[in-house]
């Protein structure tokens, strides 16, 4: 299975994950500072900033786009409960 590296900049921790893993699954286990609410892409609480590898995440769904808009997301913000890791990337809490 293809692997990818995701770095959580706030806790300075990099994890080697199978491609397709949702960021929430990893960040919770290592205790990165991304905070979760509903976990289903509705509340916007888990908004995070992608500092590198923006294109190495799955495209945001229409729903996620809407929530990001509502929460005044800046350009490279995503919801950690929605984005799946496809290739190397770096993230931090928004």
């Amino acid at each position: 299975m293809p692997k990818a590296k995701i770095t959580f900049e706030d806790v300075e921790q990099t994890v080697n994950v199978p491609a397709g893993t949702r960021i929430i699954e990893v960040s919770e286990k290592i205790g990165a500072g991304i905070i979760y609410g509903c976990r289903e892409g509705d509340c916007g609480t888990c908004m995070m900033h992608v500092t590198e590898g923006w294109n190495n995440l799955t495209e945001p769904s229409v729903l996620e786009e809407k929530i990001l808009r509502e929460n005044m997301a800046s350009r490279h913000d995503r919801l950690a409960c929605q984005a799946q890791i496809l290739g190397n990337c770096k993230v931090k809490p928004a």
């Binding site: 300075e12 080697n16 199978p18 990893v26 286990k29 500072g33 609410g37 916007g44 509502e70 005044m72």
Partner: protein
């Protein structure tokens, strides 16, 4: 033109329990809140010996009236009665919600019905919660709101409200609102306390310092980092009055309370322990001394490596509260428990269920213990620590009954590895494999 905040027309001998009128706390700024003197428990986690207040405010400008926060639903009639003494509903232009918790938004739906032209102002984090709160039916999905962030302003003519984005104090959508010309900070729950006194002002009410600190300890403490961030926005402001959503209005030396928040949010031990050193605390409980001997070996192993300050505590000899303080400051925690009737021992659970007031995220956890036949304790403690969002980089260590020299050596090694995990990790991000995380 600077406005006069000093004017306190109605403050001599205020007793709001005797009437249902508003109280002008600064020129054009009115308290329109409610008293809840019989409340004893709040949000399950808080107690109060004399109730609380729900403070709401009306600010009048030449171009309309703004309402800051409302009250808990049961107190709506008191709120509306006071509001009606200062403004007509059709004058209300803006309703500012400093956070959406029901104790401040209970009267909101009714207020929106009475003042349908008023626009809501909430923080950028509040949108989805606002919808969940108001549950608008399809046909009435037309309520208007504006999300605001730090620096955004609304003008009421000669009075301007400016917003400060202060998330997680204590809800994700928390904001503070600053009345620029008169230097009044409407701070929401921040700087508030559950203390009900009809004399309203901090220089008139009874002794409320305990309630202020208690409120901080239970509501704000888990979010210390966010408090520090918020203080960066609040401290540079000139402030003549802090008008919180609960408890006394702080008009006498308001700066003291802001400074006090910084003190409460700053680590008290940080100065005593070398900054570069990581700290590991080992807690244990032991009936026959088996887990105790393991704990000593783990401690010795962790110290061997240097760079980590290790402390060893027997849970039998301590109280929960000071341990919670220690845990808040520590970088890593190890729990040693024997297995008794298929479970870890109660003092361990007592401590592990008392940590809601501190932020554990990202701390390292470890568990060990002696057992007789089934040995469930270690795994259960690890699961609990994971549930508390701690990391468990080294998987737990169990010893059957009395530890042998070899097993004590394994405990020592466990301590060494724990210490390495603690002093490594930073600076150079080590890559861990996802499969090793679970």
């Amino acid at each position: 033109m600077p406005l006069d905040v000093e004017a306190r027309p109605a403050t001599e001998g205020v007793d709001v329990s005797r009437h249902r009128e508003s109280v002008e706390i600064a020129t054009g700024v009115h308290w329109i809140g409610a008293l809840d003197p019989t409340l004893r428990t709040f949000d399950i986690i808080l107690r109060t010996a004399n109730g609380t207040t729900y403070n709401a405010y009306a600010i009048r400008g030449s171009q309309g009236v703004a309402i800051v926060d409302t009250v808990k639903i049961e107190f709506s009639s008191e709120f509306f009665a006071r509001l009606e003494t200062v403004a007509r509903y059709d004058e209300i232009r803006a309703i500012v919600l400093n956070h959406l918790e029901p104790d401040h938004t209970g009267a909101l739906p009714e207020l929106m019905r009475r003042a349908p032209q008023a626009r809501l102002y909430v923080s950028t984090r509040a949108t989805s919660m606002l919808k969940a709160l108001l549950k608008p039916k399809e046909e009435e999905r037309r309520f208007v709101y504006t999300t605001v962030g730090t620096g955004d302003e609304i003008s009421l003519g000669e009075r301007t409200l400016r917003f400060l984005h202060t998330p997680f104090l204590h809800w994700p959508d928390t904001q503070c609102t600053y009345l620029v010309e008169q230097q009044v900070l409407f701070s929401g729950d921040v700087f508030g306390c559950h203390y009900c006194d009809s004399r309203l002002f901090n220089d008139r009410v009874g002794e409320f310092r305990f309630s202020f600190d208690y409120y901080y300890a239970h509501i704000m403490r888990p979010f210390k980092q966010h408090v520090m961030d918020a203080l960066k926005l609040i401290e540079p402001l000139s402030i003549k009055m802090v008008a919180p959503a609960h408890g006394p209005i702080l008009r006498d030396r308001p700066r003291r309370y802001i400074t006090h928040y910084r003190e409460l949010s700053t680590s008290s031990l940080a100065g005593a322990i070398c900054n570069k050193e990581k700290t590991l605390i080992i807690f244990y409980m032991s009936s026959y001394g088996n887990t105790a001997r393991m704990a000593e070996a783990v401690c010795a192993g962790a110290e061997e490596r240097g760079g980590v300050r290790v402390s060893l505590y027997d849970l039998e000899g301590g109280e929960i509260e000071p341990f919670v303080d220690l845990i808040e400051e520590a970088d890593a925690l190890a729990f040693g428990s024997p297995t008794i009737n298929g479970d870890a021992v109660k003092p361990v659970w007592d401590l592990l269920s008392s940590l809601a007031v501190v932020n554990l995220k990202g701390k390292i956890g470890a568990a060990f213990g002696s057992y007789g036949w089934s040995g469930e304790a270690v795994r259960m403690i690890e699961d609990r620590m994971r549930g508390l969002k701690m990391r468990i980089p080294i998987s737990g260590l169990r010893v059957k009954l009395i530890p042998t020299d070899e097993e004590l050596e394994a405990c020592r090694d466990f301590g060494c590895r724990l210490s390495d995990a603690l002093s490594g990790g930073k600076n150079e991000p080590a890559v861990i494999d996802f499969a090793d995380l679970a």
